[in-house]
């Protein structure tokens, strides 16, 4: 079985969706647990993809192609996974703060997180503190990610954290933030949990937070 997992990771890294799917099916037929296929085959492959991306060997569209392969295979596994397992590594709620319409970076982070096995709920841009609070209540994510690209919208991050505190749900969720003007210092100052300088480090930090 280990060999099969290895092969699955290999074809996933090569971006061959049909083969990933048929290997996943084969593993199931041979009696492997869905959770093992996910962890040892698919996510193991995505791990390598993540490392290669960080090293500058893979381009973003290649990473997204690999992620698509993973999700293709997930369609087969999902009915066999418990709800908790189907959520993958964890649930990640993300959005760009109020007044800010920049979303390229946020979208990239979302896609990379999905590739790494997170279930991502993307609220979009121009999201008010109150909308974040409602969404946290509704989706109960493990992590909330805030994006801001403008110095003028950075204060919205702090206000969002404040609003979560007021709603009494700040401690139910880890908070990450990013965007070009955002810094580690800033996040510490406003009482967030982690900073993501780019998509690759956002994934690493997110994994640490849910570990």
């Amino acid at each position: 079985m280990e060999e099969l997992f290895e092969k699955m990771a290999e074809v996933l890294i090569a971006g061959k969706e049909a083969e990933v799917k048929s290997l996943a099916q084969e593993a199931l037929d041979k009696g492997a647990a869905a959770r093992d296929i996910l962890d040892k085959g698919l996510l193991a492959g995505m791990d390598v993809v993540g490392q290669r991306f960080k090293a500058g060997d893979l381009f973003i569209p290649e990473v997204l192609l690999c992620a698509r392969c993973m999700h293709g295979a997930m369609d087969i596994l999902k009915p066999l996974l418990s709800e908790a397992d189907a959520a993958g590594v964890g649930t990640y709620l993300i959005g760009t703060v109020e007044g800010d319409l920049h979303d390229i970076g946020k979208n990239l982070v979302s896609m990379m997180l999905e590739g790494a096995g997170f279930q991502v709920i993307d609220l979009g841009t121009n999201i008010t503190a109150q909308q974040f609070v409602e969404a946290v209540k509704e989706h109960k994510p493990d992590i909330l990610g805030l994006s801001a690209l403008l110095t003028t919208t950075m204060p919205r991050m702090e206000e969002t954290i404040q609003a979560l505190k007021e709603a009494g749900i700040r401690d139910q969720v880890k908070i990450m933030a990013g965007g070009a003007p955002v810094t580690q210092d800033f996040i510490e100052k406003i009482g967030g949990d982690a900073y993501g300088a780019n998509a690759a480090s956002a994934v690493d930090k997110a994994k640490e937070l849910v570990a």
Partner: protein, 493 residues
């Protein structure tokens, strides 16, 4: 020997760039018309939707936005209404900038948030003081034809940024100013500031000394503020500069040709809105589009593609007979090093050769986030060199100098000839770059790097340059207007 007049011979003046034939530009134009008519533009402003509707566009409404489909005849007519040539009026009339076809000027990048402190050389957040200081340096530099809001005043209350920016810039330069507006209301306050410096609103209408920058959001989206600022600019008679920043591979097609088409559609849709709001409103065709580096996920403004995209968009602006304001000379390096110099030169030269009216990008580092004083000074030196280069080589009888060549003859010397005396001052001249011998260089500079000397030049300008004076009452009046606006916003919150 006699050389009498020649009959018409084919001549070119200056060096140019052969980017796209007329037919190819036509193909981009037709592709754009198709996008505007069939795919449409997403518009988030209710006011704008009404104006588009009134202008004969088809509107499909969804929750919170509308898709506007613009018939080709509306596009073509509106483009025709936009003024052909624009003089960018300046607070100091000596600095009025005439943007006739193929006149090439340069300005800095804009909207940065960080600055490398010229004294400590530390990276820090830019303040209102930086915004004014950098404007003063740009006022001094002849190589800068108009002033940008180079950095944002990040130390002022929310919603008032653009108003503070303009106050700082007006106080420090007499050149025409390009800057964005936080809101339509902020724009009208900005017009009040400018009016105070131009002798009243009527004078400002005759000679608008600033232009409002607006940015569509790629792909094919006009956010509320972009639309409403255009509409307010039309009301005030302030021209608009329309600058998409498509990132090829991210917010536009990964192929550059497709990027040109959507970029063009975004600019033209804003021109349609501006012209429907006020026929004849000055519109500047702008761009700072580039690629999204698909390995690092960064907006790579130091890439050759930045030059390629922006040079061709300058050609496209000429095709529409509109003044152009396109990228060239930006860098992704984090410090003013050799990478930043190479990157500056490639894309700035391309956009200049293409005949862009204003080449936008000097002084900037780090994908547009950081501005550096030394870089502004070094880039100005290179701008002078580029401006010499694009003039090309003139082939007149006088310049061919046949008589002189005969006279000096084989083995002779030109250096003492009167002809050299007459021509010498047209040579390019290095001030900061060094062309001396090694020993002279050592003596003159003590081996100090160009970057260090550039910082010194910048500091010297900051200490000594006096900008064109403001009218006596203006500083007080401006600060009152700004304070009242701050109060107004606070009251509103």
């Amino acid at each position: 020997m006699k050389r009498i007049s020649r009959s018409g011979i084919g001549t070119t003046a200056g060096f140019g760039l052969a980017a796209f034939s007329r037919d190819e530009l036509d193909s981009i134009h037709y592709a754009t018309l198709q996008i505007l008519q069939d795919t449409g533009i997403k518009v988030l402003s209710e006011n704008a939707l009404e104006i588009f509707h009134g202008g004969g566009c088809e509107i499909e409404r969804f929750e919170g936005y509308g898709i506007v489909k613009i018939p080709s005849y509306v596009v073509e007519e509106c483009v025709f209404w936009a003024p052909r040539t624009i003089v960018y009026d300046a607070r100091n009339p000596d600095d009025d900038y005439v943007a006739e076809p193929n006149r090439v000027g340069f300005t800095t990048f804009g909207g940065c948030i960080n600055v490398i402190d010229p004294l400590t050389r530390d990276l820090r957040r830019a303040t209102k003081k930086d915004c004014g200081d950098i404007a003063r340096v740009c006022d001094h530099l002849d190589e800068i034809c108009v002033a940008e809001r180079v950095v944002n005043s990040t130390d002022v209350p929310e919603g008032t940024l653009s108003v503070h920016n303009l106050e700082a810039i007006l106080s420090n330069t007499g050149k025409h100013i390009f800057l964005g507006a936080d809101s339509p209301r902020a724009l009208s306050v900005m017009a009040e500031l400018a009016a105070v410096c131009s002798g009243g609103m009527d004078n400002l209408r005759k000679r608008p000394i600033f232009t409002a920058n607006v940015c569509p959001i790629s792909p094919l989206t006009l956010p509320t503020n972009t639309c409403d600022v255009i509409i307010e600019a039309a009301r005030l008679g302030v021209g608009v500069m329309i600058m998409p920043m498509s990132l090829s591979g991210g917010t536009s097609s990964a192929t550059l040709a497709g990027t040109l088409v959507t970029h063009n559609a975004e600019v033209l849709s804003c021109i349609v809105l501006a012209q429907l709001a006020k026929k004849g409103l000055p519109c500047t065709y702008a761009s700072t589009s580039t690629i999204l580096d698909l390995r690092f996920g960064t907006s790579a403004i130091g890439s050759p593609e930045y030059g390629m995209i922006n040079a061709t968009l300058a050609k496209l602006a000429q095709y529409y007979r509109l003044p152009s304001f396109v990228g060239g000379g930006a860098s992704d390096s984090k410090v003013p090093d050799i990478q930043s110099g190479y990157e500056f030169t490639l894309s700035a030269t391309m956009s200049a050769l293409a005949g862009a009216n204003i080449v936008f990008g000097s002084g900037v580092l780090e994908q547009g986030l950081t501005i550096d004083y030394a870089k502004i000074i070094m880039d100005a030196e290179m701008i002078r060199m580029i401006q010499i280069a694009i003039k090309g080589i003139e082939l007149t009888d006088e310049k061919l100098a046949m008589d002189v060549i005969h006279e000096v003859g084989p083995g002779g010397a030109y250096i003492a000839h009167e002809h050299s005396l007459l021509s010498m001052r047209s040579q390019s001249q290095a001030k900061l770059f060094d062309r001396r011998s090694r020993s002279d260089w050592l003596e003159a500079t003590e081996g100090k790097s160009i970057v260090a000397r550039a910082y010194e030049t910048a500091i010297d300008i900051l200490e000594n340059h006096q900008p064109h004076p403001l009218p006596d009452n203006a500083p007080k009046a401006m600060s009152k207007i700004v304070k009242e606006f701050e109060k107004e916003l606070k009251g509103g919150l």
